[in-house]
């Protein structure tokens, strides 16, 4: 063992036993081992997602004929908008260590209410849409009350409200479908910006994405959510209002789900009770693929946006490439599992190496 090697095994060893080690002064010097500055951003989990997205987009442009066109951009974005919208508040909810399975049902309920109010006639469409939004907010507040105030487990509560809200949508609209929305409005929802193929409505979606990005990454409230995800007790000790934060997150989730429901209704110009059904699992899959930990405390908005777009691009690209829908869901599932199993295996290899190095650096008996 030359002197070149001796410091190297020592650093991880002291780092590993840092909090318990007695020799704290020596440790601190070699502590900042993590990446800093530019390389931290360029090599982080989010960046990897964005690279993956870029690779897939470029690959699709090169390999699949007709992929690189404004039509692609238009349909791809219109397809991912509902998932992208709901993924924003869902990211925040999962970062706090909770979950919301009722989002698609909330969107369906909104759609049903809009349909019935509009078909009933005599109401301005904007008032109808506003009431639809309100329905989503109330639905979210109901979830928030049961989870944050009463303190029930969110997984169980939102399975319940998944059935309840979808059931209420059925009660409201039954088997009917309402389709006669104002043509100007439905045309607006599918219109594109010039010849770029980007849907006009994307501007609004971008505002929502930016808003949630700012809330999560810049405001004290958002930073508090990470703390909440790590430990509820610790978070409340440092002065984060746990119940209130969670309650408002669920209200936001309900509101954004309602927006997704409104979008769904007007894009397809059809209000039905089963609109957006099954979307909850697609949203959660995209969020987890985007690097949010299901245990809470980890994740970011840029990563999630890349995750949503990655799934959307792969699906659309494969469909254009005449790959059947069948393979699509297998790809989604495999991506999801790989995105969580991969880091876990990587971590255990690192751990194993680490232990081996410690053993080697310890004095031999």
């Amino acid at each position: 063992m030359s002197d070149l090697l001796t410091p190297a095994p020592k650093a991880p060893f002291t780092k590993g036993s840092g909090p318990l080690g007695t020799d704290t002064t020596g440790v601190l010097v070699s502590e900042p081992k993590g990446r800093t500055g530019l390389s931290r951003i360029m090599l982080g989990r989010d960046a990897i997602m964005i690279y993956a997205l870029l690779v897939v987009v470029i690959g699709a442009c090169l390999l699949i004929p007709r992929f690189a066109s404004p039509v692609t951009v238009g349909f791809l974005l219109l397809d991912v908008i509902p998932i992208l919208l709901i993924a924003m508040p869902m990211t925040l909810v999962i970062i706090t260590g909770e979950i919301d399975l009722s989002v698609a049902s909330t969107a369906g309920l909104t759609s049903a209410v809009i349909g019935v109010l509009w078909a009933g006639g005599g109401m301005d469409i904007w008032l109808v849409l506003f009431i639809g939004l309100l329905v989503g907010v109330v639905a979210g507040a109901f979830n928030g009350f049961l989870i944050a105030v009463v303190g029930l487990p969110s997984l169980a509560v939102t399975i319940g409200t998944l059935a309840l809200f979808r059931g209420l949508a059925l009660v409201v609209i039954g088997d009917n479908a309402v389709a006669n929305f104002p043509p100007d409005l439905t045309a607006f929802f599918t219109s594109k910006i010039g010849s770029t193929g980007i849907p006009v409505i994307m501007v609004g979606v971008l505002v929502v994405v930016l808003a949630f990005g700012v809330i999560l990454h810049v405001t004290p409230f958002g930073r508090g959510l990470y703390a909440l995800g790590f430990s509820t007790e610790a978070a409340s000790f440092v002065g984060i209002k746990v119940a209130r934060s969670k309650f408002w997150l669920y209200v936001a989730t309900g509101g954004v789900s309602a927006l997704a429901g409104i979008f769904w209704t007007l894009r397809y110009s059809s209000a039905r009770s089963d609109n957006a059904s099954g979307l909850e699992l697609a949203v959660i899959a995209a969020v987890l693929l985007g690097g949010v930990s299901i245990f809470g405390g980890k994740g970011s908005i840029p990563g999630v946006v890349a995750g949503v777009l990655l799934i959307g691009t792969i699906n659309y690209g494969l469909r254009l490439g005449r790959v059947s829908d069948v393979v699509l869901i297998i790809v989604t599932g495999t991506l999801l599992i790989a995105s969580v199993v991969g880091p876990s295996i990587f971590e255990s290899i690192k751990q194993w190496n680490h232990h081996r190095r410690i053993r080697r650096s310890l004095p031999q008996h």
């Binding site: 029930l152 169980a156 399975i159 319940g160 309840l164 059931g167 393979v327 297998i330 969580v340 876990s344």
Partner: protein
């Protein structure tokens, strides 16, 4: 010790003024131990639902009506029992609907293209289910990734495999031997044969969970995985086997599905997973593991499937059905919370007295 407890009641411990032991032993009476509080609310709800419906419409409990009720509940009972095993270990399996679909289609294929005897088809199908469940279990225990994520992934993958295999193909009842279809037509003592199979499953698993050491281990794992590990329980192996057993039961449910329903194809069993979890939760299985029973989960499954028929018999608008299911789930969670708060309070008081 007895001295202190005897003098305590004056301090306002027990309302009746009697010795403390009375209040703690009340829960171990013969009836209470059979229907422990967790299963009681759902059982009462089921009895009330059936009675009310019967009084309003006596046809509800006619021989045919009863048979339909049991047939409808059978598949959900088996799935809920398997799911309860997994949830008790503080995991969840969202892929059961996809496993059921894949196995049901495999069953249809075996009958349509081979001459295998029925019993062989049963065994192969259950084996297929067990393999699919084992994949879930292996991913969860080896990669140490939350079951919610893994099984959400395999939900998609198994469904995709089913789609890829089936394409537009569907197998109908006339592709299958009559004896197989008759399993869900013939009755023994008023019970359809497939329901008897489900009852046998419930009894076996319930006895295992209550009596076998490895069954009790599942509760320990669900209550506190770290403590279970320290105690020497092979957590990984037990959880793996719970997933495997759940897959096996989902496979059995898949075969019975093929017997019960006319057609099996690419979309068989879609969206069943949340209903199954809901049945277990309604049946008193705590979503974070550690408590509940498979019998409760089975009753929860019966309750959820009976509601549909009951609402039809009561001439309630069928659109209300799902909303009522949602309310039931929420009620079950709230009752569970109230019960556990009460238990915690009781424990705290008895501990305080013993000090």
């Amino acid at each position: 010790m007895t001295n202190t407890t005897a003098t305590k009641p004056t301090g306002g411990g027990t309302p009746g003024g009697g010795p403390v032991t009375v209040s703690t032993e009340r829960t171990t009476g013969p009836i209470a131990s059979i229907l422990r509080p967790r299963e009681l609310p759902v059982t009462i709800a089921l009895v009330v639902l059936v009675l009310v419906t019967y009084l309003a419409n006596p046809l509800f409990l006619s021989a045919q009506g009863l048979k339909d009720l049991l047939l409808n509940a059978t598949i959900m009972i088996i799935l809920a029992v398997g799911q309860a095993l997994v949830i008790i270990t503080r995991n969840v399996d969202l892929s059961v609907g996809s496993i059921l679909g894949l196995v049901a289609f495999a069953t249809g294929t075996m009958f349509a293209t081979t001459d295998l005897p029925i019993i062989a088809v049963f065994l192969i199908a259950m084996l297929l289910g067990a393999v699919l469940g084992a994949i879930n279990g292996a991913l969860v225990t080896i990669a140490k990734v939350p079951a919610l994520v893994i099984t959400l992934g395999t939900l998609y993958i198994y469904r995709g495999l089913n789609n890829a295999w089936a394409g537009g193909t569907q197998y109908f009842a006339d592709d299958r031997p009559d004896a197989f279809g008759n399993l869900s037509v013939d009755t023994v003592l008023g019970f359809p044969v497939i329901t008897l199979i489900a009852i046998v499953v419930v009894v076996i698993v319930a006895v295992y969970m209550a009596g076998a050491r490895s069954g009790r281990d599942l509760y320990a794992i669900g209550s506190d995985p770290d403590a279970a590990k320290l105690f020497g329980i092979p957590v990984g192996r037990r959880v793996f086997l719970a997933f495997l057993a759940n897959g096996l039961l989902a496979g059995l449910a898949g075969v019975l599905y093929a017997s019960r329903f006319n057609s099996v194809g690419a979309t068989t069993g879609t969206g069943m997973e949340l209903d199954v979890v809901a049945a277990a939760v309604v049946g008193g299985v705590a979503i974070f593991g550690g408590s509940g029973s498979v019998a409760g989960a089975a009753v929860g499954a019966i309750l959820l499937t009976t509601i549909t028929s009951a609402l039809t018999a009561l001439r309630v608008d069928k659109f209300w059905q799902q909303a009522i299911v949602g309310i039931l789930i929420l009620a079950a969670i709230i009752i569970d919370r109230v019960a556990s708060l009460r238990t915690a309070k009781k424990l705290r008081m008895s501990e305080a007295r013993d000090v």
